[in-house]
Amino acid sequence: MGGTQQPQPAGTGDSAVEAAAELAEIERTQEHVIRAALVPGWYWWVMAAAIVAIGAARDSHDQVVLAITIPLAILVIAVLIIATIPGVRRRVRVHGAVKPATQAAVAIPGLILLVDGVTIAASASLAHYRVPHPLTIGYGAGAAALVIAGPLLNRYFGRLMLRNARQHMIEAPGLRGPWRGLLYSDPGDRSPDRAGSTHYGGGR
């Protein structure tokens, strides 16, 4: 079983720099795992297009358009939910200790309520004031809420998972002072490009 040793005698700047670089590499690799487990950006746009299509079809009042568009849009949404999300997870599944289960239980229904609320409120208001194509515009407003709030939710989950990963595996009571800032900066500050290290110079 592996070559476990006592920690190397420290106190030299070199060994501390190497240790910090190694910890930074660990965090960066884990951040990539977390990003890979998140819903891809195009997911929200396809979902939004399907929502707008439903609104436009309902505004058309054409039975043929309704009969084709609504089942097709629902199929697209179903495929996105059923196939795409497990598709993302098939490549890599985030460790249970990293998942933000509690926050997800609140945030995901919150997003659904937001999109439904915006859609219904906008559609009803526009219809009340006899604005042309109220459902297309109303559903469009809901879709806009989705493409704005969806990626924000994604980013929120990404930060939570990164925080959980740090707390679970990287948080050390002894780690204080400037190293903390060097190692644990805001993930939003960093490029997802692995080559573009923001922690220390040199390639991999």
Partner: protein, 115 residues
Amino acid sequence: MSTAGFDELIHAPTRLEIVSLLAAAQWAEFKYIRDELGLSDSALSKQLSTLESAGYVEIRKSFVGKRPRTSASLSRAGRRAFEQHVAALQQIIARSQQDGDSRPVAEADSGIVGR
């Protein structure tokens, strides 16, 4: 946090990346690890075999239709070794700070460790 224990097996750069990746995951596909770390099939196979021999990694082979799919996960021993290794790294930094060694900070300012 686990007891500190510097692990030479995990310390090697490629294996460190593999173990770090697997530590954040329940499991990961072979292709995902390969692409994420920019390794060749043979290089990744070799490193995974080394880690598997040490009892740190478990390899799972399955079929999706007729296509084989290989995935890897960190074993309990591997996860413990990784946590101990991380704790050892943190100890090195903490000791450096306790010793009042300002050199890492100076190097950070000079660009060796920078943001």
